[in-house]
């Protein structure tokens, strides 16, 4: 049985409310989803909380998944949870939409202080990107999403996604070179 078929079976099991299937789903996706949250927040405690919230939400909403890429579906839910977290924290949606980058940097610096950890160099670089680009890059590499899936997820043309990721990677390269000097 190949991976796709196995995943299909696990998803069917989860839809039937099979606890074993849900545990297997956690085993398959926990590392990648945790990596996604960790790269965006730079905080282990917060990433643990968001990961727990994600899997409970997945079990609750699994019947809404029908066809298509399960990867895309799971990371869409993860992305929504991350954004909800920011919204809940700062309450004012309008403020979050317009000043999302500023809010995220403040949240991360606060979380890093509480978590008692120093984010590694890569997180520092990612934090310097604008919010949308940082999330697109993280979704691309941790969610293993194609550019087409990213465009569908964000509801923007594929060219926009390519251009944002391209610019983001260039910026990261510059930042890394600057920090090495």
């Amino acid at each position: 049985m190949n991976e796709a078929e196995k995943l299909k079976q696990i998803v069917s099991g989860c839809k039937r409310g099979d606890n074993q299937a849900c545990s297997e789903l956690v085993d398959i996706y926990a590392d990648r989803c945790y990596g996604y949250f960790y790269r965006l927040t730079g905080n282990t405690n917060l990433s643990n909380d968001l990961l727990g919230e994600l899997f409970l939400k997945l079990v609750e909403k699994i019947n809404t998944y029908n066809e298509g890429s399960f990867n895309k579906w799971i990371f869409t839910v993860a992305s929504n949870i991350f954004r909800d977290h920011l919204r809940q924290k700062y309450r004012f949606k309008k403020l979050m939409d317009t000043k999302i980058s500023q809010v995220r940097i403040e949240a991360m610096s606060q979380d890093s202080t509480h978590g008692g950890e120093i984010a590694d160099k890569l997180e520092d670089m990612i934090k310097k990107l604008d919010d949308d680009t940082a999330e697109l890059i993280t979704l691309r590499f941790y969610g293993q999403l194609s550019f087409k899936e990213l465009a569908e997820l964000r509801e923007v043309p594929i060219g926009t996604v390519l251009s944002k990721v391209h610019r983001g990677l260039k910026r990261l390269k510059e930042l890394m070179s600057a920090s090495d000097e």
């Binding site: 409310g17 849900c22 956690v26 990596g35 087409k148 260039k170 390269k173």
Partner: protein
């Protein structure tokens, strides 16, 4: 095709020239190397166990809720079915054309069983007429809330009828 099921070369060639495409691909590969070299921490086993146990609890709760909903729906369906069967049996027991007559007789029997006297029926009829008059007044917008207490009267009459009727 890569592991994301996309043809990157073909995709990039639609948007970039050859030089830009190759630069973009290099940047993607370099970043992947960077991530491989700086792997993000993994969730602890304790966290994973906690999540699994929370999921198990959630599944038990939702199963209980599903069972409860099923039993409730089943009970309602059973009652509806019983009423429907009783109705069908009643209708089938009587030949066609007699149903209306049976209905009238049934209504008559109720009054017989209640054993209302002619006087009581006359009083009730009079009160119903009064209520109809009052309702007509209201419908014709002749009802003045400041000058009339018809609404209060209607309420009183209804209360009285209700009490008298059930006393028999």
């Amino acid at each position: 095709m890569n592991d994301k099921n996309e043809n990157l070369d073909e995709l990039l060639s639609d948007f970039y020239d050859q030089h830009q495409s190759s630069e973009f691909k290099n940047d993607l590969n370099s970043f992947q190397d960077l991530l491989d070299a700086n792997t993000a921490p993994r969730p602890s086993l304790q966290t994973i166990d906690k999540i699994k146990s929370a999921i198990a609890n959630k599944l038990v709760l939702s199963q209980k809720r599903r069972r409860y909903n099923f039993v409730r729906k089943f009970a309602v369906a059973a009652v509806v079915l019983m009423i429907a069967i009783a109705g069908v049996k009643m209708v089938n027991r009587r030949p066609d054309g007699q149903i209306a007559e049976e209905g009238k007789a049934f209504a008559g029997n109720i009054f017989d069983e209640q054993q209302f006297s002619q006087t009581e029926i006359a009083v009730l009829t009079r009160e119903v007429e009064q209520i109809e008059d009052s309702m007509l007044t209201i419908r014709l917008d002749e009802f003045d809330t400041y000058q009339s207490d018809s609404l209060f009267e209607i309420e009183t009459e209804l209360t009285e009828i209700n009490g008298d009727f059930w006393k028999g």
